[in-house]
Structure formats: C-alpha cells, structure tokens
Amino acid sequence: MTDIMGFAINFAFAGLLAGLALAFIRLCKGPSLADRVIALDLIAFITIGFIGVFTIYSNATAFMDIAITLALVAFLSTIAFARFIMRLPQSQSDEHSDSGEKS
C-alpha cells in the first residue's frame, strides 16, 4: 500500500468514526424521535462507508456484500421508525409519549 492510499484510508477511518461520534451525540440528544432516527440513518450510512473503506484496506471484496445488505436493511429500519413516529398519538417529542421509567 502506497503512502497516499495509506493516508487516505487512515483519514477515512478517522473521519468516518468522528462522524459516527457526532451522529451518535445527536442520537442521544434527540430531542425528538425524528432526530434520533435521522441520526441512526446517518450512522447506517457511515457504516456503509466504513465497510467500503475497510474493503479497500483489507482487499477482501467479500465485504462489499455487507455494504449492500446494510443499505437494504437500514432503509427498512428508518421506515419502521418513521411509521412509529407517525402513529404516535400526540406530541412531537418522545419524552412524554414514551413508556419509560420514572424514578
């Protein structure tokens, strides 16, 4: 592996993982359900990217199938969440409508 590829790959890993971190923060922060879902969707995208980079890095093309699979299924979970939000009775924020625990 040449220097430029090495750099690019390392940059890619770092950048994607940093992106993952940011998206994850949004996932935790919410505040609405939709925000979390958007973040999760983006995490799926970033994961697809990570798989791509790792495919280049490891030279094992078999990993590409995982990327396809991920692209397929991430769509489903986003849709399912979207529907979840849609069917919720009242509010835009999940903090009230959720069946969480109270302390």
Partner: protein, 117 residues
C-alpha cells in the same frame, strides 16, 4: 488485541445484566439483547481474532489464504445469533402480551402466578 475485546465483552455484559435486573420488562429485553450480543462477541473473541482475512477460498485455490480467520466460531455465532433472534422475538411478544394482559410492565407487579388461588 483480544484484551481490548475481552474488556468490551465484560462491560457490555455488565450493562446488559444491570438492565436485566430492572423492573421494566422491555428494559429486561434490552438487557438480554445486550448480553446476547456480548456473548456472541465473547465466542468470537474466544476463537481468536484475525484482521481482514475472511475464511474464503479463492476460486482458483484449494485452501484459503494463509492466516485466514478461524471459521468455526463464526459458524457457531451464526447459529447462536439466529437462535438468539428466535428467543428474543418470542420474549418481545411475550412482553407485549404481559403488558397488555396484566396491565403493567413492572415485572415485580406480575404476581398472578404465585398467589394462592
């Protein structure tokens, strides 16, 4: 590198176990998902880790490339994942039924079975 993942397995298990002890039945389920993920990971780690060399044989070869990853734990985890999926799916719907039928998600309030009739 196994050490790192040993640590992760332990921490994930700890989180999972903690959740499994909570009163909300759905949280128990989440704990179970965590623990079962952690255990799959544990099997994976126990079979030793190999970076970037999947146990596949190229179409012109009879053996996988040297230093290939241990395929057996992978097969075991596949089985365990699928079995775990079945169990979790059932548990999820049982939780649903319990919440709907018993009117509470609190596992400690589910006291219908052991009160003397």
């Amino acid at each position: 590198m196994e050490f790192l993942w040993c640590l992760v397995v332990g921490l994930m298990t700890a989180c999972g176990v903690f959740l499994m002890l909570e009163r909300h039945i759905v949280r128990f389920l989440f704990g179970m998902i965590l623990v079962s993920n952690a255990i799959n990971l544990a099997i994976f780690v126990a079979g030793r880790l190999t970076r970037g060399n999947p146990p596949l044989i190229a179409s012109d070869a009879l053996l996988p490339a040297a230093g290939y990853a241990n395929p057996l734990p992978q097969a075991l985890i596949l089985t365990a994942i699928v079995i775990g999926f079945g169990l979790l799916l059932f548990t999820l719907l049982l939780a649903y039924r319990a919440i709907k039928g018993l009117g509470t998600a609190d596992m400690d309030k589910m006291q219908h079975a052991e009160t003397e009739q």
